[in-house]
Protein backbone atom coordinates (compact mmCIF):
# COMPACT_ATOMS: atom_id res chain seq x y z
CA UNK A 1 0.00 0.00 0.00
CA UNK A 2 3.04 2.28 0.41
CA UNK A 3 3.15 2.52 -3.39
CA UNK A 4 -0.31 4.09 -3.37
CA UNK A 5 1.04 6.80 -1.07
CA UNK A 6 3.53 7.71 -3.80
CA UNK A 7 0.71 8.75 -6.12
CA UNK A 8 0.00 12.40 -6.65
CA UNK A 9 -2.96 13.80 -4.73
CA UNK A 10 -4.84 14.11 -8.01
CA UNK A 11 -4.18 10.46 -8.90
CA UNK A 12 -5.01 9.21 -5.41
CA UNK A 13 -8.33 11.06 -5.41
CA UNK A 14 -9.12 9.51 -8.80
CA UNK A 15 -8.13 6.03 -7.58
CA UNK A 16 -10.49 6.46 -4.64
CA UNK A 17 -13.33 7.58 -6.89
CA UNK A 18 -12.64 4.60 -9.18
CA UNK A 19 -12.69 2.32 -6.11
CA UNK A 20 -9.21 1.02 -6.95
CA UNK A 21 -8.33 1.72 -3.34
CA UNK A 22 -10.43 2.50 -0.29
CA UNK A 23 -10.06 5.44 2.03
CA UNK A 24 -9.53 3.04 4.93
CA UNK A 25 -6.65 1.41 3.06
CA UNK A 26 -5.02 4.72 2.16
CA UNK A 27 -5.60 6.24 5.59
CA UNK A 28 -4.27 3.15 7.37
CA UNK A 29 -1.17 3.22 5.17
CA UNK A 30 -0.63 6.93 5.78
CA UNK A 31 -0.92 6.51 9.55
CA UNK A 32 1.42 3.52 9.55
CA UNK A 33 3.98 5.48 7.54
CA UNK A 34 3.62 8.48 9.82
CA UNK A 35 4.30 6.28 12.86
CA UNK A 36 7.23 4.58 11.14
CA UNK A 37 8.90 7.81 10.02
CA UNK A 38 8.18 10.07 12.95
CA UNK A 39 11.07 8.86 15.15
CA UNK A 40 13.37 9.94 12.31
CA UNK A 41 11.67 13.06 10.95
CA UNK A 42 9.42 14.39 13.73
CA UNK A 43 6.81 15.72 11.33
CA UNK A 44 3.71 15.12 13.44
CA UNK A 45 2.53 16.79 16.61
CA UNK A 46 -0.41 14.41 16.88
CA UNK A 47 -1.75 11.46 14.89
CA UNK A 48 -5.53 11.17 15.17
CA UNK A 49 -5.83 7.51 14.19
CA UNK A 50 -9.25 6.77 15.62
CA UNK A 51 -10.97 9.87 14.25
CA UNK A 52 -9.29 9.50 10.88
CA UNK A 53 -10.38 5.90 10.49
CA UNK A 54 -13.95 6.71 11.52
CA UNK A 55 -13.96 9.39 8.83
CA UNK A 56 -12.35 7.06 6.27
CA UNK A 57 -14.92 4.32 6.95
CA UNK A 58 -17.72 6.86 6.48
CA UNK A 59 -16.17 7.99 3.18
CA UNK A 60 -16.01 4.40 1.94
CA UNK A 61 -19.60 3.72 3.01
CA UNK A 62 -20.86 6.86 1.30
CA UNK A 63 -18.97 6.09 -1.90
CA UNK A 64 -20.44 2.60 -1.92
CA UNK A 65 -23.84 4.31 -2.03
CA UNK A 66 -22.71 6.60 -4.83
CA UNK A 67 -22.25 9.68 -2.67
CA UNK A 68 -19.14 11.78 -3.21
CA UNK A 69 -18.35 14.51 -0.68
CA UNK A 70 -16.11 16.38 -3.09
CA UNK A 71 -12.81 16.27 -4.98
CA UNK A 72 -10.88 15.09 -1.92
CA UNK A 73 -13.26 12.28 -0.99
CA UNK A 74 -11.33 9.99 1.35
CA UNK A 75 -7.87 11.48 0.72
CA UNK A 76 -5.59 11.53 3.80
CA UNK A 77 -4.06 14.93 4.54
CA UNK A 78 -2.48 16.53 7.62
CA UNK A 79 -2.07 20.17 8.56
CA UNK A 80 0.17 22.57 10.41
CA UNK A 81 -0.81 22.58 14.07
CA UNK A 82 -2.15 26.13 13.93
CA UNK A 83 -5.35 25.42 12.02
CA UNK A 84 -7.96 25.26 14.74
CA UNK A 85 -10.50 22.47 14.97
CA UNK A 86 -13.25 23.05 17.49
CA UNK A 87 -12.81 20.95 20.62
CA UNK A 88 -9.27 19.82 19.76
CA UNK A 89 -5.87 20.99 20.95
CA UNK A 90 -3.93 23.28 18.64
CA UNK A 91 -0.47 23.76 20.12
CA UNK A 92 0.73 26.34 17.59
CA UNK A 93 4.09 24.70 18.23
CA UNK A 94 4.23 26.10 21.74
CA UNK A 95 4.25 25.21 25.40
CA UNK A 96 1.90 28.11 26.05
CA UNK A 97 -0.81 26.45 23.97
CA UNK A 98 0.22 22.85 24.71
CA UNK A 99 -3.25 22.09 26.13
CA UNK A 100 -5.27 24.85 24.50
CA UNK A 101 -8.51 23.64 23.02
CA UNK A 102 -9.69 25.54 19.95
CA UNK A 103 -13.16 27.12 20.21
CA UNK A 104 -13.73 27.23 16.44
CA UNK A 105 -12.77 25.34 13.30
CA UNK A 106 -10.58 27.09 10.74
CA UNK A 107 -12.28 28.11 7.50
CA UNK A 108 -9.58 26.29 5.55
CA UNK A 109 -10.30 23.04 7.41
CA UNK A 110 -14.05 23.50 6.94
CA UNK A 111 -13.52 23.74 3.19
CA UNK A 112 -11.20 20.72 3.05
CA UNK A 113 -13.63 18.73 5.22
CA UNK A 114 -16.49 19.59 2.89
CA UNK A 115 -14.36 18.45 -0.05
CA UNK A 116 -13.91 15.06 1.62
CA UNK A 117 -10.45 15.14 3.20
CA UNK A 118 -9.48 12.72 5.96
CA UNK A 119 -7.21 14.62 8.32
CA UNK A 120 -4.86 12.14 9.98
CA UNK A 121 -3.13 14.53 12.33
CA UNK A 122 -1.47 17.85 13.04
CA UNK A 123 2.03 18.84 12.04
CA UNK A 124 5.19 20.23 13.58
CA UNK A 125 5.87 23.93 13.08
CA UNK A 126 8.06 26.70 14.35
CA UNK A 127 6.79 27.98 17.70
CA UNK A 128 3.95 30.39 16.90
CA UNK A 129 5.18 30.24 13.27
CA UNK A 130 7.79 32.85 14.13
CA UNK A 131 10.92 31.64 12.38
CA UNK A 132 12.01 30.43 8.94
CA UNK A 133 14.32 27.48 9.64
CA UNK A 134 11.68 25.02 10.85
CA UNK A 135 13.38 24.43 14.17
CA UNK A 136 11.39 24.09 17.38
CA UNK A 137 13.12 23.65 20.73
CA UNK A 138 9.82 22.70 22.41
CA UNK A 139 8.54 20.06 19.97
CA UNK A 140 11.96 19.08 18.65
CA UNK A 141 13.20 19.90 15.16
CA UNK A 142 11.53 18.37 12.14
CA UNK A 143 14.08 16.70 9.85
CA UNK A 144 14.53 17.07 6.12
CA UNK A 145 13.56 13.88 4.20
CA UNK A 146 16.37 14.51 1.70
CA UNK A 147 18.93 14.50 4.51
CA UNK A 148 18.00 14.76 8.19
CA UNK A 149 21.15 16.76 8.97
CA UNK A 150 19.72 19.73 7.06
CA UNK A 151 17.00 22.21 7.98
CA UNK A 152 13.48 21.70 6.66
CA UNK A 153 12.71 25.37 6.31
CA UNK A 154 9.81 26.81 8.21
CA UNK A 155 7.64 27.67 9.73
CA UNK A 156 5.51 25.01 8.00
CA UNK A 157 8.17 22.38 8.69
CA UNK A 158 6.01 19.33 9.38
CA UNK A 159 3.81 20.18 6.40
CA UNK A 160 6.79 19.96 4.08
CA UNK A 161 8.24 16.85 5.69
CA UNK A 162 4.99 14.87 5.74
CA UNK A 163 4.30 15.62 2.08
CA UNK A 164 7.89 15.22 0.80
CA UNK A 165 8.22 11.89 2.60
CA UNK A 166 5.08 10.60 0.89
CA UNK A 167 3.15 10.22 4.12
CA UNK A 168 0.23 12.45 3.12
CA UNK A 169 -0.79 13.88 -0.23
CA UNK A 170 -0.87 17.51 0.79
CA UNK A 171 -0.79 19.83 3.79
CA UNK A 172 -1.71 23.34 4.76
CA UNK A 173 1.04 25.78 5.59
CA UNK A 174 0.94 29.49 6.27
CA UNK A 175 3.16 32.15 4.75
CA UNK A 176 3.93 35.42 6.57
CA UNK A 177 7.52 35.82 5.35
CA UNK A 178 8.12 32.67 3.34
CA UNK A 179 6.74 29.95 5.62
CA UNK A 180 5.12 28.04 2.75
CA UNK A 181 7.66 28.81 0.02
CA UNK A 182 10.81 28.16 2.07
CA UNK A 183 9.95 24.66 3.35
CA UNK A 184 8.50 23.79 -0.06
CA UNK A 185 11.72 24.86 -1.80
CA UNK A 186 13.94 23.20 0.79
CA UNK A 187 12.06 19.88 0.74
CA UNK A 188 11.45 19.77 -3.02
CA UNK A 189 7.73 20.60 -3.15
CA UNK A 190 5.28 22.99 -4.75
CA UNK A 191 4.06 25.63 -2.30
CA UNK A 192 1.69 28.52 -2.99
CA UNK A 193 1.87 31.82 -1.14
CA UNK A 194 -1.58 33.08 -2.02
CA UNK A 195 -2.65 36.64 -2.75
CA UNK A 196 -3.56 38.39 0.50
CA UNK A 197 -7.35 38.00 0.52
CA UNK A 198 -7.60 34.87 -1.62
CA UNK A 199 -7.98 32.37 1.26
CA UNK A 200 -9.70 33.00 4.57
CA UNK A 201 -7.47 33.07 7.64
CA UNK A 202 -10.41 32.61 10.00
CA UNK A 203 -9.48 30.07 12.66
CA UNK A 204 -5.81 30.09 11.74
CA UNK A 205 -3.37 31.22 14.42
CA UNK A 206 -2.31 34.79 13.68
CA UNK A 207 1.35 35.75 13.49
CA UNK A 208 0.96 39.01 11.63
CA UNK A 209 -2.58 39.82 10.57
CA UNK A 210 -1.18 42.26 8.04
CA UNK A 211 0.87 39.63 6.23
CA UNK A 212 -0.42 36.14 7.04
CA UNK A 213 -1.64 33.99 4.17
CA UNK A 214 -2.87 30.40 3.97
CA UNK A 215 -1.40 28.13 1.32
CA UNK A 216 -0.97 24.45 0.41
CA UNK A 217 2.18 22.34 0.03
CA UNK A 218 2.03 19.41 -2.37
CA UNK A 219 4.31 17.17 -4.41
CA UNK A 220 3.00 18.41 -7.76
CA UNK A 221 1.87 21.77 -9.07
CA UNK A 222 -1.44 20.28 -10.27
CA UNK A 223 -2.15 18.97 -6.76
CA UNK A 224 -1.51 22.43 -5.39
CA UNK A 225 -3.95 23.97 -7.84
CA UNK A 226 -6.55 21.38 -6.90
CA UNK A 227 -6.25 22.31 -3.22
CA UNK A 228 -6.45 26.04 -3.94
CA UNK A 229 -9.66 25.42 -5.91
CA UNK A 230 -11.10 24.22 -2.62
CA UNK A 231 -9.51 26.77 -0.29
CA UNK A 232 -10.07 30.01 -2.19
CA UNK A 233 -13.05 32.27 -1.78
CA UNK A 234 -14.69 34.98 0.25
CA UNK A 235 -15.42 34.51 3.93
CA UNK A 236 -17.23 37.15 5.95
CA UNK A 237 -15.26 36.07 9.02
CA UNK A 238 -12.02 37.29 7.39
CA UNK A 239 -12.69 40.79 6.07
CA UNK A 240 -9.51 40.71 4.00
CA UNK A 241 -11.00 38.08 1.68
CA UNK A 242 -11.99 39.12 -1.80
CA UNK A 243 -15.37 38.68 -3.46
CA UNK A 244 -13.64 38.07 -6.79
CA UNK A 245 -14.67 34.85 -8.53
CA UNK A 246 -12.47 31.83 -7.98
CA UNK A 247 -11.28 30.39 -11.29
CA UNK A 248 -10.42 26.73 -11.89
CA UNK A 249 -6.75 26.81 -10.97
CA UNK A 250 -6.12 23.48 -12.66
CA UNK A 251 -7.41 24.70 -16.03
CA UNK A 252 -4.07 26.03 -17.27
CA UNK A 253 -1.96 23.10 -16.13
CA UNK A 254 -0.36 21.53 -19.18
CA UNK A 255 -1.10 24.46 -21.46
CA UNK A 256 1.74 25.92 -23.48
CA UNK A 257 3.69 28.81 -22.00
CA UNK A 258 5.03 29.84 -25.39
CA UNK A 259 5.11 33.60 -25.76
CA UNK A 260 4.85 34.36 -22.06
CA UNK A 261 7.27 36.96 -20.75
CA UNK A 262 9.31 35.66 -17.84
CA UNK A 263 11.01 38.38 -15.83
CA UNK A 264 14.56 37.77 -14.64
CA UNK A 265 15.25 40.20 -11.81
CA UNK A 266 18.17 42.58 -12.04
CA UNK A 267 18.87 43.78 -8.54
CA UNK A 268 17.78 42.56 -5.10
CA UNK A 269 16.79 38.96 -6.05
CA UNK A 270 20.13 38.42 -7.82
CA UNK A 271 22.22 39.89 -5.00
CA UNK A 272 24.24 37.72 -2.59
CA UNK A 273 23.43 34.57 -4.59
CA UNK A 274 25.89 31.74 -4.14
CA UNK A 275 27.18 30.01 -7.29
CA UNK A 276 25.20 26.80 -6.66
CA UNK A 277 21.95 28.77 -6.65
CA UNK A 278 22.96 30.79 -9.71
CA UNK A 279 23.56 27.52 -11.58
CA UNK A 280 20.06 26.28 -10.76
CA UNK A 281 18.46 29.60 -11.70
CA UNK A 282 20.37 29.68 -15.01
CA UNK A 283 18.97 26.24 -15.79
CA UNK A 284 15.46 27.45 -14.92
CA UNK A 285 15.68 30.46 -17.26
CA UNK A 286 17.16 28.25 -19.99
CA UNK A 287 14.24 25.83 -19.63
CA UNK A 288 11.71 28.63 -19.99
CA UNK A 289 13.48 29.86 -23.12
CA UNK A 290 13.35 26.32 -24.47
CA UNK A 291 9.62 26.28 -23.74
CA UNK A 292 9.18 29.35 -25.92
CA UNK A 293 9.03 32.01 -23.24
CA UNK A 294 10.72 35.33 -23.62
CA UNK A 295 13.08 35.81 -20.68
CA UNK A 296 13.36 39.53 -20.01
CA UNK A 297 15.76 41.27 -17.65
CA UNK A 298 13.74 43.49 -15.34
CA UNK A 299 15.32 46.06 -13.03
CA UNK A 300 13.98 45.87 -9.49
CA UNK A 301 12.84 48.93 -7.53
CA UNK A 302 14.27 49.46 -4.02
CA UNK A 303 13.12 46.25 -2.37
CA UNK A 304 15.40 46.69 0.63
CA UNK A 305 13.03 49.38 1.83
CA UNK A 306 10.05 47.11 1.10
CA UNK A 307 11.70 44.32 3.07
CA UNK A 308 12.34 46.70 5.98
CA UNK A 309 8.72 47.82 5.86
CA UNK A 310 7.65 44.19 6.04
CA UNK A 311 9.76 43.67 9.14
CA UNK A 312 8.22 46.67 10.86
CA UNK A 313 4.71 45.46 10.04
CA UNK A 314 5.49 42.02 11.43
CA UNK A 315 6.98 43.48 14.59
CA UNK A 316 3.99 45.75 15.15
CA UNK A 317 1.59 42.84 14.85
CA UNK A 318 3.70 40.44 16.91
CA UNK A 319 4.23 42.88 19.79
CA UNK A 320 0.47 43.32 20.02
CA UNK A 321 -0.45 39.64 19.76
CA UNK A 322 2.24 38.40 22.14
CA UNK A 323 2.27 41.44 24.43
CA UNK A 324 0.32 39.93 27.30
CA UNK A 325 2.06 36.54 27.30
CA UNK A 326 5.47 38.21 27.14
CA UNK A 327 4.45 40.10 30.26
CA UNK A 328 3.03 37.17 32.19
CA UNK A 329 4.46 33.98 30.66
CA UNK A 330 7.74 34.97 29.06
CA UNK A 331 9.50 31.93 30.54
CA UNK A 332 7.08 29.62 28.70
CA UNK A 333 8.44 30.67 25.31
CA UNK A 334 11.55 28.88 24.06
CA UNK A 335 14.56 31.19 24.34
CA UNK A 336 14.79 31.36 20.55
CA UNK A 337 11.25 32.59 20.06
CA UNK A 338 11.35 34.86 23.08
CA UNK A 339 14.50 36.45 21.70
CA UNK A 340 12.87 37.07 18.34
CA UNK A 341 9.76 38.52 19.93
CA UNK A 342 11.87 40.86 22.06
CA UNK A 343 13.24 42.39 18.87
CA UNK A 344 9.73 43.70 18.16
CA UNK A 345 10.39 46.31 20.84
CA UNK A 346 12.26 48.14 18.08
CA UNK A 347 9.08 49.26 16.33
CA UNK A 348 7.35 52.54 17.08
CA UNK A 349 3.68 53.30 16.52
CA UNK A 350 4.56 55.78 13.79
CA UNK A 351 6.82 53.30 11.99
CA UNK A 352 4.08 50.70 12.10
CA UNK A 353 1.42 53.03 10.76
CA UNK A 354 3.75 54.37 8.08
CA UNK A 355 4.62 50.82 7.06
CA UNK A 356 0.88 50.23 6.57
CA UNK A 357 0.52 53.48 4.60
CA UNK A 358 3.47 52.62 2.35
CA UNK A 359 2.02 49.32 1.14
CA UNK A 360 -0.18 50.78 -1.58
CA UNK A 361 2.48 53.01 -3.11
CA UNK A 362 4.97 50.15 -2.96
CA UNK A 363 2.59 47.74 -4.74
CA UNK A 364 1.77 50.31 -7.42
CA UNK A 365 5.46 50.92 -8.02
CA UNK A 366 6.26 47.20 -8.19
CA UNK A 367 3.49 46.58 -10.69
CA UNK A 368 4.37 49.56 -12.85
CA UNK A 369 8.13 48.93 -12.89
CA UNK A 370 8.24 45.12 -12.79
CA UNK A 371 4.96 43.35 -13.56
CA UNK A 372 4.13 45.68 -16.46
CA UNK A 373 7.26 44.41 -18.22
CA UNK A 374 6.69 40.69 -17.71
CA UNK A 375 3.83 38.27 -17.10
CA UNK A 376 5.55 36.84 -14.04
CA UNK A 377 8.83 37.30 -12.23
CA UNK A 378 10.95 34.17 -11.69
CA UNK A 379 13.34 34.52 -8.77
CA UNK A 380 15.22 32.34 -6.30
CA UNK A 381 13.71 31.43 -2.94
CA UNK A 382 16.92 31.12 -0.95
CA UNK A 383 20.19 32.80 -1.84
CA UNK A 384 22.39 29.90 -0.72
CA UNK A 385 22.20 26.10 -0.63
CA UNK A 386 20.14 24.60 2.19
CA UNK A 387 22.17 24.85 5.40
CA UNK A 388 22.69 22.12 7.97
CA UNK A 389 20.82 22.33 11.27
CA UNK A 390 24.18 22.81 12.94
CA UNK A 391 24.89 25.84 10.73
CA UNK A 392 21.96 27.91 11.96
CA UNK A 393 21.92 29.54 15.35
CA UNK A 394 18.49 30.93 16.05
CA UNK A 395 18.95 32.06 19.63
CA UNK A 396 17.80 35.62 19.01
CA UNK A 397 21.16 37.40 19.12
CA UNK A 398 22.62 39.60 16.37
CA UNK A 399 24.11 36.61 14.55
CA UNK A 400 20.79 34.81 14.44
CA UNK A 401 19.02 37.89 13.11
CA UNK A 402 21.56 38.17 10.30
CA UNK A 403 20.93 34.53 9.33
CA UNK A 404 17.16 34.82 9.69
CA UNK A 405 17.07 38.06 7.72
CA UNK A 406 18.94 36.48 4.80
CA UNK A 407 16.73 33.38 4.81
CA UNK A 408 13.61 35.55 4.54
CA UNK A 409 15.10 38.38 2.43
CA UNK A 410 13.81 37.09 -0.90
CA UNK A 411 10.45 36.17 0.64
CA UNK A 412 9.16 39.08 2.71
CA UNK A 413 8.70 41.71 -0.02
CA UNK A 414 6.11 39.44 -1.66
CA UNK A 415 4.15 39.27 1.60
CA UNK A 416 4.39 42.99 2.13
CA UNK A 417 3.06 43.62 -1.38
CA UNK A 418 0.30 41.03 -0.90
CA UNK A 419 1.25 39.23 -4.12
CA UNK A 420 0.94 35.55 -4.98
CA UNK A 421 4.10 33.47 -5.45
CA UNK A 422 4.45 29.80 -6.27
CA UNK A 423 7.52 27.96 -5.06
CA UNK A 424 8.58 25.30 -7.55
CA UNK A 425 11.43 22.76 -7.34
CA UNK A 426 14.21 24.07 -9.58
CA UNK A 427 16.89 21.43 -9.18
CA UNK A 428 19.48 20.28 -6.69
CA UNK A 429 22.62 21.86 -5.33
CA UNK A 430 25.83 19.80 -4.92
CA UNK A 431 24.94 19.00 -1.29
CA UNK A 432 22.08 16.88 -2.65
CA UNK A 433 19.36 19.16 -1.29
CA UNK A 434 16.54 20.65 -3.38
CA UNK A 435 16.77 24.22 -4.62
CA UNK A 436 13.49 25.98 -5.41
CA UNK A 437 12.48 29.11 -7.24
CA UNK A 438 9.42 31.32 -6.96
CA UNK A 439 7.08 32.58 -9.68
CA UNK A 440 5.63 35.93 -8.63
CA UNK A 441 2.62 37.52 -10.26
CA UNK A 442 -0.01 40.23 -9.98
CA UNK A 443 -2.74 40.02 -7.33
CA UNK A 444 -4.99 36.99 -8.02
CA UNK A 445 -2.73 35.63 -10.80
CA UNK A 446 -2.42 32.22 -9.12
CA UNK A 447 -3.79 30.41 -12.19
CA UNK A 448 -1.05 31.83 -14.38
CA UNK A 449 1.60 30.98 -11.80
CA UNK A 450 0.42 27.36 -11.71
CA UNK A 451 0.59 27.19 -15.52
CA UNK A 452 4.14 28.56 -15.51
CA UNK A 453 5.24 26.34 -12.63
CA UNK A 454 3.73 23.20 -14.15
CA UNK A 455 5.51 23.81 -17.44
CA UNK A 456 8.90 23.78 -15.71
CA UNK A 457 7.95 20.81 -13.55
CA UNK A 458 7.24 18.79 -16.68
CA UNK A 459 10.27 20.06 -18.60
CA UNK A 460 12.68 19.42 -15.73
CA UNK A 461 11.57 15.86 -14.97
CA UNK A 462 12.23 16.54 -11.30
CA UNK A 463 9.11 14.70 -10.13
CA UNK A 464 10.98 11.45 -10.73
CA UNK A 465 13.42 12.30 -7.92
CA UNK A 466 12.32 11.07 -4.48
CA UNK A 467 14.13 11.28 -1.16
CA UNK A 468 15.67 8.07 0.18
CA UNK A 469 14.01 7.71 3.55
CA UNK A 470 15.54 6.28 6.70
CA UNK A 471 12.62 3.93 7.42
Amino acid sequence: MDDMLKLSLTAAAQALRDKKVSSVELTTAAIAKARRLDPHYNAFVRIDEEKALVNARACDAELAKGKLRGPLHGVPLAHKDMYYRKGEVSTCGSKIRADWVAPVTAAALERLDAAGQVQIGTLNMTEFAYGPTGQNAFLGDARNPWNPDYITGGSSAGSAVSVASGTVFGALGSDTAGSVRLPAAICGLAGMKTTLGRVSRYGAMPLSGSLDTVGPLTRTVADNALLLNILAGQDARDPHTSADAVPDYTAGIGKSVKGLRIGRPIGYFDEKLEPEVIAVMDAVYAAYRKLGCEVIDVKMPDLDVVNAAGMLLTWGDVIAIHGEWMKTRAADYTPQTRGRIEVTLGVSAQDYQDAQRFRGPALLEFCSTVLSKCDALVAPVLSYPVPKLSDVDVSGGPNSMRILNEITRLMRPVNYLGLPALSVPGGFTPNGLPCGFQVIGRPFAEALLYRIGAAYEKESGLLAHKPKLLA
Partner: protein
Protein backbone atom coordinates in the same frame (compact mmCIF):
# COMPACT_ATOMS: atom_id res chain seq x y z
CA UNK B 1 11.56 57.44 13.94
CA UNK B 2 14.71 57.19 11.83
CA UNK B 3 17.21 56.01 14.44
CA UNK B 4 16.53 53.49 17.15
CA UNK B 5 18.30 53.83 20.49
CA UNK B 6 18.51 51.47 23.47
CA UNK B 7 16.53 54.08 25.40
CA UNK B 8 13.70 53.79 22.86
CA UNK B 9 13.67 50.03 23.36
CA UNK B 10 13.68 50.31 27.16
CA UNK B 11 10.91 52.89 27.04
CA UNK B 12 8.73 50.61 24.91
CA UNK B 13 9.53 47.65 27.16
CA UNK B 14 8.44 49.62 30.23
CA UNK B 15 5.26 50.72 28.52
CA UNK B 16 4.25 47.19 27.48
CA UNK B 17 5.49 45.64 30.72
CA UNK B 18 8.21 43.34 29.41
CA UNK B 19 11.31 42.63 31.49
CA UNK B 20 14.35 43.65 29.44
CA UNK B 21 17.85 44.44 30.69
CA UNK B 22 19.77 47.48 29.50
CA UNK B 23 22.25 45.17 27.80
CA UNK B 24 19.48 43.38 25.94
CA UNK B 25 17.94 46.73 24.95
CA UNK B 26 21.26 47.71 23.41
CA UNK B 27 21.37 44.41 21.53
CA UNK B 28 17.81 44.87 20.27
CA UNK B 29 18.54 48.40 19.12
CA UNK B 30 21.51 47.05 17.17
CA UNK B 31 19.43 44.26 15.67
CA UNK B 32 16.27 46.20 14.82
CA UNK B 33 17.96 49.51 14.05
CA UNK B 34 18.97 48.80 10.43
CA UNK B 35 15.38 48.06 9.38
CA UNK B 36 14.11 51.19 11.11
CA UNK B 37 16.77 53.31 9.41
CA UNK B 38 16.20 51.70 6.03
CA UNK B 39 12.47 52.24 6.23
CA UNK B 40 12.94 55.98 6.79
CA UNK B 41 13.50 56.28 3.03
CA UNK B 42 9.92 55.15 2.41
CA UNK B 43 8.54 58.32 3.96
CA UNK B 44 9.46 60.22 0.81
CA UNK B 45 6.67 58.24 -0.89
CA UNK B 46 4.03 59.16 1.68
CA UNK B 47 1.94 62.26 1.96
CA UNK B 48 -0.71 63.60 4.28
CA UNK B 49 -3.56 61.83 2.49
CA UNK B 50 -2.23 58.26 2.56
CA UNK B 51 -4.24 56.15 4.96
CA UNK B 52 -3.43 52.69 6.32
CA UNK B 53 -5.60 50.85 3.79
CA UNK B 54 -3.62 51.81 0.71
CA UNK B 55 -2.83 48.18 -0.07
CA UNK B 56 -6.46 47.21 -0.61
CA UNK B 57 -6.93 50.07 -3.05
CA UNK B 58 -3.71 49.24 -4.90
CA UNK B 59 -4.69 45.57 -5.03
CA UNK B 60 -7.92 46.46 -6.80
CA UNK B 61 -6.05 48.65 -9.28
CA UNK B 62 -3.37 46.10 -10.08
CA UNK B 63 -5.24 42.82 -9.84
CA UNK B 64 -5.92 40.47 -12.74
CA UNK B 65 -8.94 38.38 -13.58
CA UNK B 66 -7.59 34.99 -12.57
CA UNK B 67 -9.95 33.21 -14.93
CA UNK B 68 -8.52 35.00 -17.99
CA UNK B 69 -4.99 33.61 -17.97
CA UNK B 70 -3.90 35.94 -15.20
CA UNK B 71 -2.08 38.55 -17.24
Amino acid sequence: MSKLTPEDVLSTARRVGWAITAERAQQIAGTAGPAVEKFAAARAHLDFDHDTLTLQAAREITKVDGSKDGR
